[in-house]
């Protein structure tokens, strides 16, 4: 009888595996597990066995029934999945275009500005903004610019009928912050600046700058180097080197020009860097004690550094944009190229 059961179970399993439709499953269930199935028949024949063997064999029948039930269930599931898949496959072409939300794009100058802000925020700087329409004091006097300095000319600086002027650099914000807040100060001030330059591939009367200012006890040129190096790496990649070399600005002492190793040729020399291997990034230096005195900070206690960067210049370098004027055309064929640039 046990052999009979085993044979039956094997056959049934085979038949179940051959089921192709939900209907096959229905039939198989009736055939193997239904009232008139052989399994039920075996139950009826339990009486033929000696009493002591009955429970054990009853158990065997139940196990076989359980196995067949689970085989049927899993085969049924397979058949359903196959049907679902087959139905979806009819006339389905996954290569047809998707229905996109059609994102716009940020202006590349905005992208660079936000990236720079992000780098400095990450270094613990704060962002400070100030007015673009400024007075001579904040734009020149407080920055230690001599009265007869050429930058004060109408040829260099835009003046308004009200007697005010358009700031020529965001250093004005440094002065405003130092007037209102005590050190330690760690700020950057991004924003629009104005110089009376005719638009050409590398000039624009309206441009954006980021100034950084750090004032605290014990700030040295070494901190300037650190910050600059961190910034250059964050913006242009870990391989980029930075350096400072002597220069002159009225509001810093010592003053410096900052360079980064050419992002185009990695310092080997090329068209972009005019074969020097270095790219000029902007001016820097240690805040002149005269500037500190102007805003009431004791230069004996505090020292600080400042530097300024042109945002358009960085954008042009990063994206290989050859002419600054392109940035102001607002051609969406240009703008659309920056859809994938995140802020």
């Amino acid at each position: 009888m046990e052999a009979e059961l085993n044979r039956f179970a094997e056959e049934a399993a085979e038949k179940i595996a051959q089921c192709r439709t939900p209907n096959d499953i229905l039939n198989a269930r009736a055939q193997f597990l239904g009232k008139k199935s052989m399994l039920n028949g075996l139950f009826a024949r339990l009486r033929e066995l000696p009493a002591e063997q009955r429970p054990a064999f009853g158990q065997l029948i139940n196990t076989a029934r359980g196995k067949l039930e689970s085989l049927l269930a899993s085969r049924e599931q397979e058949i359903k999945s196959a049907a679902w898949e087959a139905q979806a496959a009819v006339d389905f072409d996954s290569s047809m275009p998707g229905y996109s939300w059609q994102r716009g794009s940020f202006h590349p100058v905005s992208i660079i500005r936000r990236q720079i802000e992000d780098v400095f925020l990450g270094m613990g700087f704060e962002i400070a903004e100030g007015p673009e329409i400024e007075d001579e004091f904040h734009n020149f006097d407080a920055l230690n610019t001599p009265d007869d300095h050429p930058s004060r000319n109408l040829a260099d600086t835009f003046y308004l009928e009200s007697g005010k002027l358009l700031r020529t650099q965001t250093s004005t914000v440094q002065i405003r912050v130092m007037e209102s807040f005590k050190p330690p100060i760690r700020i950057i001030s991004p924003g629009r600046c104005y110089r009376n330059d005719k638009p050409d591939p590398s000039h624009s009367p309206v441009f954006q700058q980021v100034e950084a200012l750090v004032v605290d006890r014990g700030i040295s040129m070494s901190d300037l180097q650190d910050t600059l190096q961190n910034f250059a790496r964050a913006m242009f990649g870990p391989q980029v080197k930075s350096r400072i070399r002597p220069h002159f600005f009225p509001f810093t002492e010592p003053s410096a020009e900052m360079d980064i190793s050419c992002v185009n040729c990695s310092g080997a020399g090329c068209r972009v860097c005019k074969n020097s291997g270095w790219l000029e990034m902007g001016g820097a230096g240690m805040v002149d004690p005269a500037v500190f005195k102007m805003v009431g900070i004791d230069p004996e206690i505090y020292t600080g550094f400042a530097f300024g960067l042109g945002i358009e210049r960085i954008a042009m370098l990063k994206y290989d944009i050859p002419d600054m004027r392109i940035l102001f055309e607002n051609d969406i064929r240009m703008l659309a190229q920056f859809k994938g640039e995140s802020l």
Partner: protein, 826 residues
């Protein structure tokens, strides 16, 4: 851990109030999780003896008692419901007039019998949660006495969290030592005095440690002549206030000493311990690993199946305790106990943790041993408990302490550099202060010497540090053995910083206030949102062309900053509108063949009459909503698309329900025009650009057959208005909402907004929302009318809405609409 202020005050004078004590605990690193004040009881609550107690007729559980309060007056008749109420018992009676919390005791009749007062349980007095029966006081308690004295009331119970690195704080003495060190207060911790034992041959013990790694020290003290009884009230009170149940004097003393010292103890019934063989002279205590599948019946009534990882304290035959975790039932103290083995030991924390975790049994003992108790404390703790057992249980000490301590912990010394302290905590601490703080913690200053990282065990090993040798000067401190957490220089510095107060650590950089983070966030949000819905950001010079302003109908002379030296006439003004250049940008791109354009600029304006340069955003939209797609043919952008763009932004900025109405602009349509007002200021506007204006900018809309939509956002105002916005969570409705639809015909001139307010106004509370889901004008609707379909969302926050209420509500809505708008239901 639960600590009573009064108990703590026995070791350290606590002059400060509870708040100050809370502060002091918190700042010395003991987190206070809850404070519970137990108030003093009124004078009407006194000790009393129940002279007689008889079951009250007709009642299952009431007892009629005659109670004596010892003032010579007649006994008082009191009805009591407690099961343990019996004649002769001394308990606590609250006399009429006593106020217990919210309950005022009055004379009353219960089942027709007068009752003049209430016999109290501990819970009724607010002492503990015990409400099983009335309080049973020792028979010799003086009667008529205020209960405050007996229970040391008032008191304050602090529930504190001890961090796992501070096993020394797991007892009152440790906390007191820390407070005394932090607050520079005297410390009253007495060293227990040796109790001489009586020699006896009749009683002895065979003690062995099989696993010295897992049990570095085991001490056992034999005590005879134990008079097992209830503990005195002060001891009971102390335990109750610390959250433990009194059991009997022997068990209570082990618990009391554990709470006091932090070091757990255990007591075995000596006479239930077996020897290794039948004829052994003495019973055994063997510290060994459990046998695999060894059965152990614990005090909690559960049987545990142990394995070879568990450490047990066994007698000659069976496991008598799961080491450091829980005692066994077989050898437990019982009423019959006469002789006791008092265990005071130290166990490897990992072993205790593992057994506790594996068998899911956590006890006050395992809690402490898991956190590491020093073997050095075992003997002292044993002595303290012995003292109390002699005092309170009449115990006789037999012989000397059995002390298995194969490898005594060597005293260790740590070097501390002064320079390192200031480097780590940021300020200088005077040497005297350092020595004082550490001295208060029980550290002993040994001498100055050369710094080294490694611990030393002998003062003679400390090297001299003179100027010539290359060394760093350090102070060497010997650590009290119970401070198992002090092993490195930095551990000592932590103690110093903690005791001196973290508030003394100077803030190097004052909190910054320079950056306007809110403005920064709003600016980015606006830009991100617009780019996200398809806008291209443009960048233009900050100038306006006076001629272009005039084309828009704006007077270029008014409210503008004029440049003295512009590069050209069309850059003569500082910008007061972003629109002209955006129109230029649009034309430029149309000329390049683009048809669908969404352009925007986010920039400052420079109106002469304001002293800020307000940030504005202007956007232009024309063409299809989304470019045509093979599945979804495109459609032209309409007014409601634009309106939705602004609504979405205001939602993002969390600026809700604003007033909306058209605002005339010389360049916009008068009808397809809408402005949003917040606090009566226009913050956003949309509208269709007049074709004539577009034409002046070289854009031929009729030829394009497109509308040109303008969005203007005053980002500066949006920033200021949203500045102090705070979101608070509104609890979710617990009852389902119901919706009902209404369709009706209404005159065209009646606005949706008017209808919305009307409907909502019927019941602002129950009508949670009104949505419009259809508008129809056409054949079936007469000229000048439109058909609207509304969905009312109804919800009551308190209960489920019944059909009756819903119908009544809908009827009121229809009535209101019929009267005000002359609607006709469809």
């Amino acid at each position: 851990m639960i600590i009573s202020r009064n108990w703590l005050a026995k070791y350290v004078p606590l002059e400060m109030d509870d708040d100050a004590l809370n502060q002091a605990l918190t700042f010395s690193g003991i987190e206070v999780e809850a404070i519970d004040h137990i108030p003093a009881l009124p004078p009407e609550v006194v000790t009393a003896r129940i002279i007689s107690a008889e079951k009250l007729e007709d009642s299952e559980h009431l007892t009629l008692c005659m109670v004596d309060i010892g003032d010579g007056s007649e006994p008082r008749q009191v009805v009591c419901g407690a099961p343990n109420c019996s004649a002769g018992m001394v308990s606590v009676l609250a006399l009429p007039g006593a106020v217990l919390g919210e309950l005022t005791i009055k004379s009353a009749r219960l089942r027709g019998v007068e009752s003049h007062g209430m016999l109290c349980s501990e819970r009724e007095l607010g002492i503990s949660e015990d409400h099983a029966g009335i309080i049973r006081l020792p028979e010799d308690t003086p009667l008529g006495k205020s209960v405050n004295e007996l229970y040391e009331l008032p008191d304050t119970i602090f529930e504190v969290e001890i961090t796992p690195n501070r096993p020394d704080l797991l007892g009152y003495e440790g906390i007191a030592r820390d407070l005394s060190a932090a607050l520079n207060l005297p410390l009253y911790i007495k060293e227990p005095q040796p109790v001489p034992g009586v020699d006896s041959d009749a009683i002895g013990l065979s003690l062995s440690i099989v696993e010295p790694q897992l049990c570095p020290r085991y001490t056992a003290r034999l005590l005879a002549d134990i008079k097992l009884a209830d503990s005195p009230l002060w001891l009971k009170t102390a335990l109750i206030k610390s959250g433990m149940r009194p059991i009997n004097n022997v068990v209570d003393i082990t618990n009391y000493v554990m709470l006091e010292t932090g070091h757990p103890l255990h007591a075995f019934d000596y006479d239930l311990l077996q020897g290794e063989t039948e004829d052994a002279a003495h019973p055994s205590i063997i510290v060994r690993r459990a046998k695999d599948k060894e059965k152990f019946m614990a005090l909690d009534g559960n049987e545990y199946e142990l394995d070879g990882q568990d450490l047990v304290i066994a007698d000659g035959k069976n496991a008598g305790a799961l080491a450091g975790v829980i005692g066994g039932k077989q050898t437990a103290i019982s009423d019959a106990t006469k002789r006791v083995v008092l265990e005071s030991a130290a166990f490897q924390p990992q072993t205790v943790r593992r057994s506790s975790y594996n068998h899911k049994v956590s006890t006050d003992s395992s809690y402490r041993f898991e956190r590491h108790q020093s073997p050095e404390m075992a003997a002292r703790t044993s002595l303290r408990a012995t003292q109390l057992l002699v005092e309170l249980a009449g115990a006789m000490v037999i012989g000397d302490l059995y002390d298995a301590y194969p490898q005594p912990v060597q005293r260790w010394m740590v070097a501390l550099r002064k320079s390192r302290i200031s480097l780590l905590i940021g300020y200088e601490m005077a040497e005297a202060k350092v020595k004082e703080y550490l001295g208060n913690l029980g550290l002993e200053y040994v001498k100055d010497g050369a710094w080294q990282e490694e611990l030393l065990h002998d003062a003679s090993e400390i090297k001299e540090c003179d100027i010539s040798s290359k060394c760093e000067a350090a102070m060497w401190f010997a650590i009290p053995p119970k401070r198992v957490d002090l092993l490195r220089e930095v551990d000592l510095i932590e103690e110093l910083a903690r005791l001196d107060g973290y508030h003394k650590v100077p803030v190097k950089t004052p909190p910054s206030i320079i950056m306007d983070k809110h403005a920064y966030r709003i600016r980015n949000q606006v830009l991100d949102y617009l780019v996200g819905i398809g806008f291209y950001e443009t960048l233009n010079y900050s100038f306006n062309d006076p001629a272009q302003l005039q084309l828009l109908g704006i007077d270029p002379q008014e409210n503008t900053h004029k440049l003295i030296n512009p590069q050209s006439g069309n850059q003569a003004l500082m910008r007061i509108s972003l629109l002209p250049q955006l129109l230029d940008n649009l034309r430029y791109n149309l000329n390049h063949g683009e048809r669908n354009l969404k352009l925007m600029e986010l920039a400052r304006l420079y109106p002469a009459d304001q002293n800020v340069e307000p940030l504005h955003c202007t956007a232009l939209v024309t063409g299809q909503l989304r470019a045509g797609h093979w599945q979804n043919p495109g459609r032209q952008i309409n007014f409601f698309d634009i309106k939705g763009m602004v609504t979405g932004l205001l939602e993002l900025l969390d600026l809700p329900g604003t007033k909306m109405e058209p605002l005339a602009k010389s360049w916009l349509s008068q009808t397809r025009n809408l402005a949003w007002f917040i606090e009566d200021k226009p913050v956003a506007q949309i509208g269709a650009l007049q074709p004539a204006i577009a034409d002046k900018f070289g854009i031929d809309l009729s030829q394009l057959r497109q509308e040109l939509w303008v969005i203007e956002l005053d980002v500066h105002l949006l920033t200021e208005i949203s500045r102090n916005r705070k979101r608070t969570f509104v609890p979710l409705p617990r009852f389902p909402s119901v919706s009902r639809d209404l369709s009706f015909v209404v005159a065209n001139h009646i606005s949706w907004e008017h209808i919305y307010r009307l409907v909502k106004g019927v019941d602002e509370y129950l009508i949670s929302n009104v949505e419009i889901f259809d508008e129809y004008r056409g054949k079936q609707v007469p000229e000048g009318l439109r058909s609207l379909s509304l969905r009312l969302i109804l919800q009551d926050k308190e209960k489920t809405l019944t059909d009756n209420r819903i119908d009544a509500l809908v009827d009121s809505v229809i009535k209101e609409l019929a009267e005000e708008c002359k609607i006709q239901l469809r």
